[in-house]
Symmetry: C2
Subunit: 327 residues, 2 copies
DNA sequence: TCCTGCATTGTGAACGCTCACATATGACGG
DNA sequence: CCGTCATATGTGAGCGTTCACAATGCAGGA
């Protein structure tokens, strides 16, 4: 920066002013500085900027690192929203779902001088961490649990699950089975809750829960195998599309057709879900909106609002051909 | 840090030594410092560290931001490999595939003081940029083009495509059609090349290329529709699994069965590819290995090796039930 | 002519760390 | 009892910015 200043014949402060386009610089001077910058190929140093200024305009994000569709979309949407608001995102990936791992990830973010932390890891472990440890700065959990972490942005999973269940009941199914996500994940829990609520609201028997899914198609297949053995099962709601695909595969392998024998609904609406056989009925989440709301909350709390809150993002059911009236 | 030093009754330098566990600190002293750190909840400031030291041990990564499976896996693997080597990763996401966008993304990385740049965007635009602009620091392109960007790590797409094509020919198909990825992407280009090479090597007619795919299932479906109209088509190799799913859907909708009427092979081996109907034969890439090699190259060039190079990562064909002998 | 006030530019310190070097402390042999 | 060396610790500068404030220039009004 000193070189640029020398070359343009101004002080370092003027260069700084041009760089941050602050008022009070004559156009001619600004131009001269800009030229010096270009000629020297000067590039400002983020570290020095952050060190010197109080605000970093940086949000730290921790994700769960297995590139699931959801978290990935959230991250992308968050990045967009952050840029829009003049914030930078720094991310770190959690590998082992432990208290210690969470701590390390957050520590890493804090070292980078973030102004807020966003945890896109809606898992029990992380929730507990966020509840117990006061980081001294705004901490938002995406898809968390409002009752535990006050700053939470999320999709209305309960409602989404209820809609999916209702759809199946309206088609004429007596009841609906659920292939849940792994225990400990609040999304999994919320979807179970929505499913159960709807069944109870309509006075239907609540089948035993098939835990043990881990979001993977493989685990869906396992669940599907046991589901297929029970001829009473005519409708299945799965906690995500990948598991739904596994379930469908298992049903097919067991000689049961979808949707004639069994209807299946997923959650996420993956791009490929419309192209499998049969095209999958699924609950779609608006990740862009979620990202915007999450960023909005962060901004509000950063602006001093003590406990801002936002509504859950609604979901929509995309009806395709994996669901039908029971035979 | 000054506070910690005061509390422990040592100098700031000793604190620094403890923090970076450098030799020459008495165990008792180190413990005292550590205790002061814990009590004060002290956390070191990354910006200050980077500013003061010459090396940042940070690698900048630019990705193409639509969360495709491949790039996502590469990023994850790269992060693992980087951590292993004591490097940090900073990432930025390219939204618009333009020269200008690329420049902005790279600029952003450079501001952060990265020691090397890794471009996980194997697109023409980026390749041209990497070739023409000398960033003044090591620039590696993942899945790039060795002939253009000297520092390149990649999967052997040509070989992978050839294997897929060969598999279909060996089953007895006269020739193989190809649903390619979008023009401008070097992976798409390489897969076309492998496919064509294999056909020519075996003296088979090379069907006209169906460009226009954009990696999405939807574009695969479009390609599949026109493929389905041609009764001569008995084998199709798709540039990725998502397009393969679209193709299969289109064939099914047109009344043609897979693999009885038409065999289909994909590329990527998505987790769900084993669970669709029929389970998809696909070419699997070893992303972890790719990440390791990429990081290895970066380390070697950083260590002073002028033009290190590494072999392409081999692929494996996973044969499932979407391919069979022609009827 | 001189003063006031605004627009523009400059100055020096501070941010929190690492680096290179200087200094203190002990153990040991002569 | 002293010098020597290694080990342990301290000192001060400097990294490249921003921040708060000071200084300069110039126009217009009294």
């Amino acid at each position: 920066m000193a070189d640029v200043a020398a070359r343009a014949g101004v002080s370092h402060q003027t260069v700084s002013r041009v760089l941050n386009d602050m008022p009070g610089v004559r156009a001619a001077t600004a131009e001269r500085v800009q030229q010096a910058i270009d000629e020297l190929g000067y590039r400002r140093n983020l570290s020095a900027r952050l060190l010197a200024s109080t605000r970093s305009r940086t949000i730290g994000v921790a994700t769960w690192g297995n590139s699931q569709f959801g978290p990935q979309q959230v991250l992308l949407a968050l990045d967009d929203a952050a840029r829009q608001s003049g914030y930078r995102l720094v991310t770190t990936t959690l590998r082992t779902m432990t208290e210690q791992g969470t701590r390390a990830a957050v520590e890493e973010l804090l070292e980078q001088g973030v102004e807020a932390v966003v945890l896109v890891i809606p898992h029990e472990t992380v929730l507990r961490f966020a509840t117990e440890v006061d980081l001294g700065l705004p901490t938002l959990v995406v898809e968390g649990d409002l009752s535990r972490t006050p700053l939470t942005a999320g999709v209305d999973n309960v409602e989404g699950a209820a809609i999916a269940t209702r759809h199946l009941l309206e088609l004429g199914h007596t009841t609906v089975c659920h292939v849940a996500g792994p225990p400990g994940w609040s999304e999994a829990r919320a979807r179970v809750e929505g499913w159960r609520m709807e069944l109870e609201a309509q006075g239907r028997p609540v089948p035993p829960l098939r835990w043990g899914g881990d979001w993977s198609p493989r685990s869906g297949y396992e669940a599907g195998r046991s589901l297929a053995r029970d001829p009473e099962v005519t409708a299945v709601f799965c906690a995500n599309d990948q598991m739904a695909m596994g379930v469908i595969a298992a049903l097919r392998d067991a000689g049961r057709t979808v949707p004639d024998d069994v209807s299946v609904v997923g959650f996420d609406d993956l791009p490929e879900s419309a192209y499998i056989d049969p095209p999958l009925t699924s609950v779609r989440q608006d990740f862009d909106e979620l990202g915007r709301r999450a960023m909005g909350l962060v901004e509000r709390v950063l602006a001093g609002e003590p406990r801002p809150s936002a509504d859950l993002v609604p979901t929509t059911l995309v009806v395709r051909r994996s669901t039908a009236a029971p035979r």
